[in-house]
Amino acid sequence: MIPLTYYLVLSAILFTMGALGVLIRRNALVIFMSVELMLNAANLAFVAFARQYNAFSGQLFVFFVMTVAAAEVAVGLALIVAIFRVKHNIDVDQMSSLKG
């Protein structure tokens, strides 16, 4: 059986990649995917702990997170489409119209 540490390390790597993606990339779509990566890193940690402690609440949370992620995708993609229609690109650095 693979020890818990492995899963957690993988989860941390995935999370870090996601966070770095959010911070570094300028393409909104990529940022979006990075966010998904972070969420899934958290999911991995959840299921790993759930398995370790034989508790189903961790798995239950994963379902919640997936549901929320799905909803977030729906809203986020709709926003990106709307922004693209106006600006003809999705570079987040260009999106500073509200800056004072």
């Binding site: 959010v22 987040v92 650095d93 500073s96 509200l98 004072g100």
Partner: protein, 713 residues
């Protein structure tokens, strides 16, 4: 003195009605009068007054059945402050009931007369609403007069005293904005003000008397004051003298005695029924009633008594001389009233309370008769004048008729005997009663006063007899001028007799003027025995000359004969001057030439009004002007308020508050606050760089910090 409950006749519980019936009448007139006709308003008021007379009669009967024992009917608590307790009680005794009967009886007749009189008054054609107001005031007057006579304390008496003063003011100034012919004028309201202000001076004296009494006796209830009077008089005789003299000031105001009589002649500006009711028959006798009511105090202060008697006697003579020189029919009667009030005040001042009250009652009858007949004469002339104005047609300018005609001026009259026979005979009866001719009412009452004066103070007897001589003279002069000779004005030639509603009440009064003497005939002394229950007359030890010792049941033939002969002589002289050769139009008074400046004095009221103006009124106006202009306006307003207060305030606000506190303190603080915010925001806005990723980094760093903190904790 209060009888036990069981002994009080149930009749006495009616006592409060004497006040509340007229009040009910006036309330009904106020509420419903607007929808009732003139007649209904007048009759409602008359019935209210008539029922008051009925109740007064019932009270008199009850009192007679109870052998004149004083009854105090408790009605309500009025003032209760600590130990001070003043209830509103109705005092029913022979004295108050006598007043009640006179007031409500004469009052009712005058109410009825007023229905006719006020209807005839030319001025009502424009303003029928005043009809209701007139009767509301009349009823209010009856109510107030009843409070005055039925009150059981000096304070309650004072309420009525002020109340009748108010009604007098309201009624003198009834036509406050026009004169007798309806032209705009403020003369009437000025007369009302004069009456009110002069009365206020007298009322001040009354108030001083009441307060001194409260200070000395600790009470103003009649019972308690009179009970303690002797005790206090023994300890502090000055207090009694002070109270009685202060009271005399009140009496001179209300009963028009020297020096405060000046308002009464001017009060004739009121409608004639008012002159008859208030300024001849009832209200002005309140002062006489007050002295009679306060007999236990006055009998303890002989000096004050003498002063009162002297004031009355001098007034009687002084006013009688002025009456000789007057031309206005009502002014003659006004001065006659002052003179007759002088007789009454002299009588009650001498301690002849019964004689004073007797004269009060008979005078109410014949003076009301005279005034109302004078009103009838004036109306007759107005009708004649109206008739003329109609007949002369409309080709002449409307204003021309109304230029000079005064329906009250006796020089415009003459020959009215034929035009107004009923009024003429009524006037003759009133005149004979006033002049004191046997056997009319005035003879008996005046004779009683003269007899008492002769016994007690011969000098007052001489003054009063002289006054009585003048009385007969000016009344004779009036009769000859008004009713005999030829008409001196076309209006008099066309005068018409008054309707029944006016003459019938006069006939009743004429009957009373003839028979009023029966109230207190010598030998019977009905009124004397009746009042004895309330007033105990002091027995004087007198050494009289033989001719004064003669007594035919209380009538002294010498005094009676002297006064009657003098009266007849005066009437004869007046016939010689005015009757034998009647005045012609435009002719001067025949007395003017032989008497010279004396007559000018009489004609001009001895210039007393002018003197008062010069000495008091103008000085008062000067002081008022000084206070208003210099003290109030220039000192207080211009200097103190504008310069000192406003100036200091402006300086303070401008320099201290505006420049320092506001600009340098408050403004600086808040401007600094604004600057700080601006600088802080200039710094903080750099954070808002518009790059989403840097925000994300900030969020992450924040999360790391918070999580790190939670882990390290």
């Amino acid at each position: 003195m209060l009888l036990s409950e069981t002994a009080i006749s149930p009749l006495f519980s009616l006592a409060p009605l004497i006040v509340f019936l007229p009040v009910l009448g006036l309330l009904l007139n106020i509420i419903f009068g607007g929808r009732m006709g003139e007649k209904a308003i007048g009759w409602l008021a008359s019935v209210a007054s008539g029922l008051t007379f009925v109740v007064s009669s019932l009270l008199a009967y009850g009192l007679w059945a109870a052998h004149g024992e004083t009854v105090v009917v408790p009605f309500a608590d009025w003032i209760t402050i600590g130990s001070l307790h003043i209830p509103w009680n109705f005092r029913v005794d022979t004295l108050s009931v006598t007043m009640m009967l006179a007031v409500s009886g004469v009052g009712t007749l005058i109410h009825i007369y007023a229905i006719g009189y006020m209807h005839e008054d030319v001025r009502f054609k424009n303003d029928p609403k005043r009809f209701r107001r007139f009767f509301v005031f009349l009823n209010l007057f009856i109510a107030m007069m009843m409070i005055l006579v039925s009150g059981d304390s000096y304070l309650m008496l004072f309420v009525g005293w002020e109340g009748v003063g108010l009604c007098s003011f309201l009624l003198i100034g009834f036509w406050y904005d026009m004169d007798t012919l309806g032209r705009p004028s403020w003369a009437n309201s000025n007369a009302a003000k004069k009456a009110f202000i002069t009365n206020r001076i007298g009322d001040f004296g009354f108030l001083l008397a009441a307060l001194t009494m409260f200070w000395a006796f600790g009470s103003v209830q009649f019972g308690e004051v009179f009970g303690k009077a002797e005790e206090i008089a023994a300890a502090q005789p000055a207090v009694i003298i002070a109270i009685t003299l202060f009271m005399l000031i009140g009496v001179t105001g209300k009963s028009a005695q020297i020096p405060l009589y000046v308002w009464l002649p001017d009060a004739m500006a009121g409608p004639t029924p008012v002159s008859a009711l208030i300024h001849a028959a009832t209200m002005v006798t309140a002062g006489v009633y007050l002295v009679a009511r306060s007999w236990p105090l006055y009998t303890l202060a002989p000096d004050a008594q003498y002063i009162v008697a002297m004031v009355g006697a001098v007034t009687a003579l002084f006013a009688a001389t002025i009456a000789v020189g007057q031309y206005d029919i009502k002014k003659v009667l006004a001065y006659s009233t002052i003179s007759q009030l002088g007789f009454m005040v002299a009588a009650v001042g001498m301690g002849a309370f019964v004689a004073g009250m007797f004269h009060l009652v008979t005078h109410a009858f014949f003076k009301a008769l005279l005034f109302l007949s004078a009103g009838s004469v004036i109306l007759g002339l107005e009708r004649g004048h109206h008739h003329l104005a109609h007949h002369k047609g409309h080709e002449e300018h409307e204003g021309k008729h109304e230029e000079v005609f005064d329906p009250g001026d006796m020089r415009n009259m003459g020959g009215l005997r034929k035009r107004m026979p009923v009024t003429f005979w009524l006037y003759i009866i009133g005149t004979l009663a006033l002049a004191g001719i046997f056997p009319f009412a005035g003879f008996w009452s005046k004779d009683e006063i003269l007899l008492d004066a002769a016994k007690l103070h011969p000098e007052i007897f001489i003054i009063l007899t002289t006054a009585a001589f003048f009385t007969a003279f000016y009344m004779g002069r009036q009769i000859w001028m008004v009713f005999f000779g030829e008409p001196r004005h076309e209006a008099a030639a066309h005068a018409e007799e008054s309707p029944k509603i006016i003459t019938v009440p006069l006939m009743v009064l004429a009957g009373l003027s003839v028979l009023g003497g029966a109230l207190n005939l010598p030998g019977v002394h009905t009124l004397g025995h009746w009042l004895e229950h309330t007033i105990e007359l002091a027995e004087h030890e007198l050494h009289l000359p033989a001719w004064l010792e003669i007594s035919w049941g209380g009538l002294n033939p010498v005094v009676a004969l002297v006064s009657t002969l003098l009266a007849l002589l005066a009437i004869y002289i007046s016939w010689l001057i005015y009757g034998r050769k009647p005045l012609t139009a435009g002719q001067k008074d025949p007395l003017k030439k032989p008497l010279g400046f004396i007559f000018t004095g009489m004609e001009n009221k001895w210039f007393v009004d002018e003197g008062y103006w010069a000495v008091f009124v103008n000085r008062y106006v000067d002081i008022a002007r000084f206070l208003a202009d210099v003290v109030d306006w220039r000192f207080w307003h211009d200097w103190f308020h504008d310069k000192v207060i406003a100036g200091t305030y402006v300086w303070l606000s401008h320099i201290a508050l505006n420049r320092y506190a506001d600009q340098k303190g408050i403004d600086a603080f808040f401007n600094g606050l604004g600057d700080l915010t601006k600088r802080l925001s200039a710094f903080l806005r750099r954070l808002q760089n518009g790059f989403v990723r840097s925000y994300a980094l900030a969020v992450m760093l924040g999360v790391i910090v918070i999580v790190g903190y939670l882990l390290m904790k």
